[in-house]
């Protein structure tokens, strides 16, 4: 008989994980202490935006039970603590809510239940949880904003922290994990907790390499995008390597893990200088748009009108936490701006003269410069010739190369993106 699986904490992580659990055929219990959130979920209002999530939740309606009463978890054989862990500006986790949630959940679990910590905790956390160690596990989550459903449905592997990794996992837990058809890697609690951090450190290391060399490209006339395919064909780097340059890491989870490594290094006397360099590089990259905006537009245009496309932290999400776009806009308060985002409203913006447009091209009307801050797929449909018709100026800052650069250049724009020198008709 299939186990009933419970998820405590209906945040981004919990909702996506629960939906995937139901889709794999398990009756799934969704618990959150916030009754309003549970009411919304019961009515089909999903508080997070992810491609395919709404459809998945609707299709699994009969397998999903929502409740704000912890007693609902008593029926579950496997219960995940799946709440997002808040971080401060320095990336430090605030675990008070998680401790409280665990306490609430434990007092309602059946004695034989498996308790799994799924949320982002530091090494050493799971071992201290007051639940019998043979039924206590830590499971690495690898949620990616904008790809959360895909990741939850088809994980590359399960990394499981256990007290005794050499022992077989309890049957109910194993049955659940095997339904996803991926490798299961048991290891000690601390190894699993650090594995999660290790994954993110590898990603940040690659991103930092890309950012560092992309900036060199911008100065010496090379094009990082020409180099990337060569790197991907190298087996030591690989086709899925995180080697696209960006505007610094954002979203909170990677920063959290870097902060944790720095803290662990400080506590145990290990060398984390390279991690601090990554953090430094990330902060530097966050201001890339501000720098090129000043050097290419504001230095020459005293009364600019600035159009910003994209407010969300990244495409396919409603999240604005650590959004590079909102961070940029805080430094543009001396000039009028026009914004458009497919999901986020202009009311999220703190700016004295911000107009919301109803389309990308309308946002660009009479603008001296157009900045594409979030690479939403729908921005790819913008035709450079249409921008030519409505814009006053001739500068496009498109860090992620959403628009066709050569076409922008051909119709007279100076086109500026990450990893290549500014391109214009000159």
């Amino acid at each position: 008989m299939k186990p009933v699986v419970g998820y405590a904490g209906m945040t981004h992580l919990g909702i996506n994980s629960a939906a995937a659990s139901a889709a794999r055929g398990f009756h799934t219990v969704c618990f959150d202490t916030d009754s309003e959130r549970i009411n919304q979920l019961t009515q089909g209002n999903i508080p997070v935006s992810e491609p395919g999530l709404d459809e998945l939740v609707v299709s699994q309606k009969t397998r999903l039970t929502y409740s704000s009463q912890p007693a609902v978890l008593t029926q579950c054989q496997v219960v995940y603590i799946a709440a997002d862990v808040a971080t401060d500006d320095e990336g430090r986790s605030d675990l008070r809510d998680i401790h409280h949630l665990i306490g609430t959940v434990i007092s309602h679990l059946s004695p034989s239940a498996i308790l799994v910590i799924l949320c982002q905790v530091s090494p050493g956390f799971t071992r201290k949880v007051s639940w019998p160690a043979d039924r206590l596990f830590y499971q690495v989550e690898t949620l990616i904003f904008g790809r959360a459903v895909e990741r939850a449905m088809s994980p590359e592997r399960f990394i499981i922290g256990c007290q005794m990794p050499e022992r077989e996992l309890p049957q109910s837990y194993q049955d659940f994990l095997m339904a996803f058809g991926c490798p299961i890697l048991p290891m000690s609690y601390e190894s699993a907790e650090l594995a999660k951090i290790s994954i993110n450190c590898c990603l940040v290391g690659m991103i930092s390499v890309a950012n560092t060399l992309a900036e060199v490209c911008e100065r010496i006339g090379a094009d990082w995008h020409e180099i990337v395919p060569a790197l991907r064909l190298d087996k030591r780097i690989g086709p899925y390597a995180y080697i696209s340059p960006g505007l610094g890491i954002a979203g909170g989870n990677l920063e959290r893990d870097l902060a944790t490594v720095c803290r662990l290094a400080e506590e145990h006397g290990t060398d984390a200088e390279v991690v601090r360099a990554w953090i430094h590089n990330s902060r530097y990259r966050k201001d890339w748009v501000l720098r090129v905006l000043h050097s290419n537009v504001l230095n020459y245009c005293p009364q600019p009108r600035i159009a910003v496309l994209g407010l969300a932290y990244k495409e396919n999400t409603h999240s604005i936490k650590n959004s590079p776009s909102l961070a940029l806009i805080t430094h543009l308060t001396d000039w009028p701006i026009q914004v458009f985002d497919p999901v986020v409203q202009a009311s999220a913006v703190s700016h004295p003269d911000c107009a919301q447009a109803n389309s990308p091209v309308e946002a660009a009307r009479n603008a001296d410069v157009l900045i594409l801050m979030t690479p939403w797929a729908e921005f790819k449909a913008i035709k450079p010739a249409d921008l030519c018709q409505v814009m006053r100026g001739r500068t496009i800052i498109d860090p992620f190369q959403v628009l066709p650069g050569r076409e922008c250049e051909a119709v007279g724009f100076t086109y500026i993106s990450l990893g290549q020198p500014p391109r214009d008709v000159k």
């Binding site: 430094h280 530097y284 201001d287 501000l290 720098r291 000043h294 050097s295 504001l298 230095n299 430094h331 543009l332 308060t333 001396d334």
Partner: protein, 290 residues
């Protein structure tokens, strides 16, 4: 980075400029006056920071509502005696600030406080001076910050040029003087070292902005554009119609070959502020010298 304690620019009651007789101090006084800010310029004739009565004199002048701009220095501090002399001058100011309050303190420091290899230099780059001059400014910054409760802004200009610069160091000022005499401009080697040069009037403009915003923290006063000495020499040579001649270096190639700055913090602190482009600044310096 700077934090503004006034959300909108506010004219201070009075700005006392200590070191108003110098190249930078004089430019600051002129800028503040042009910005209609009440200024009390103090030169060494008014308060000589090396004399025994300096504390008493300065304390009698300062008011709690004053913004104090501290520019005085014997610069560059090339020897240990010069270093100690500069520290004693700062000690006087610290002693006064410890015994009375002012509204705001602006210290004109230097980019010499940073390590030579801190490229690109940012305000968060480690303070690791490699010269006595840099050590002097780094020490003074710490001394001042530890002596007052008032907001303290440490401004760290890079190489400053302008028509009234009394120094004749290798760079725009010396090149201009050579050219003005009709001589060839002499550069060392290929003159390939790239440095950032900031016009003294731009330093003064930043001081005025910082005073009006009552800012605290650190800010590099730089243009963000580094130019080779050869290029600078060529610009000045074309103004005066003289040649540029390469001379053998007097010593080994400098350890600090290039220095670049990341000017993001200026953009954030004063979004509409722009430094004078080098070519335009050199032209202003030429006209000023005439």
């Amino acid at each position: 980075m700077l934090v503004h304690h006034h959300s909108t620019p506010t004219l201070p009651t009075r700005v006392v400029v200590l070191g108003a007789g110098g190249f930078v101090g004089g430019a600051i006084v002129r800028r503040l006056l042009a910005d209609r800010i009440a200024v009390l310029p103090l030169t060494r004739n008014d308060v000589n920071l090396m004399e025994a009565d300096a504390c008493e004199k300065l304390r009698a002048i300062l008011r709690p509502t004053d913004s104090l701009v501290f520019v005085s220095a014997v610069a560059p501090a090339k020897t240990v005696p010069m270093l100690m002399q500069n520290l004693r001058m700062a000690e006087v100011v610290c002693e006064v600030l410890s015994s009375m309050t002012v509204d705001h303190l602006v210290y004109v420091s230097s980019d010499a406080v940073y390590a030579d290899d801190a490229n690109p230099v940012r305000e968060c780059s480690p303070i690791a001076p490699t010269t006595l001059h840099g050590l002097m400014h780094a020490a003074r910054e710490l001394m001042l910050k530890s002596s007052t409760q008032a907001p303290v802004a440490c401004l760290r200009p890079t190489l400053i040029y302008g028509s009234l610069d009394p120094h004749n160091g290798y760079g725009p000022n010396r090149f201009r003087r050579q050219a003005a005499k009709g001589e060839s401009i002499q550069i060392f080697g290929e003159g390939e070292e790239q440095r950032d040069h900031v016009l003294v009037d731009d330093v003064a403009r930043v001081v005025s902005l910082v005073v009006a915003a009552r800012s605290s923290g650190a800010l590099n006063v730089v243009t963000g554009v580094s130019t080779s000495f050869k290029r600078i020499a060529d610009m000045i040579a074309s103004q005066f119609g003289v040649d540029v001649v390469s001379q053998p270096r007097p010593g080994p190639r400098p350890h600090l070959l290039h220095r670049f700055f990341d000017i993001t913090q200026i953009h954030k602190a004063f979004p509409t502020f722009q430094c004078t482009p080098l070519e335009q600044g050199l032209e202003q310096a030429r006209k000023g010298a005439e």
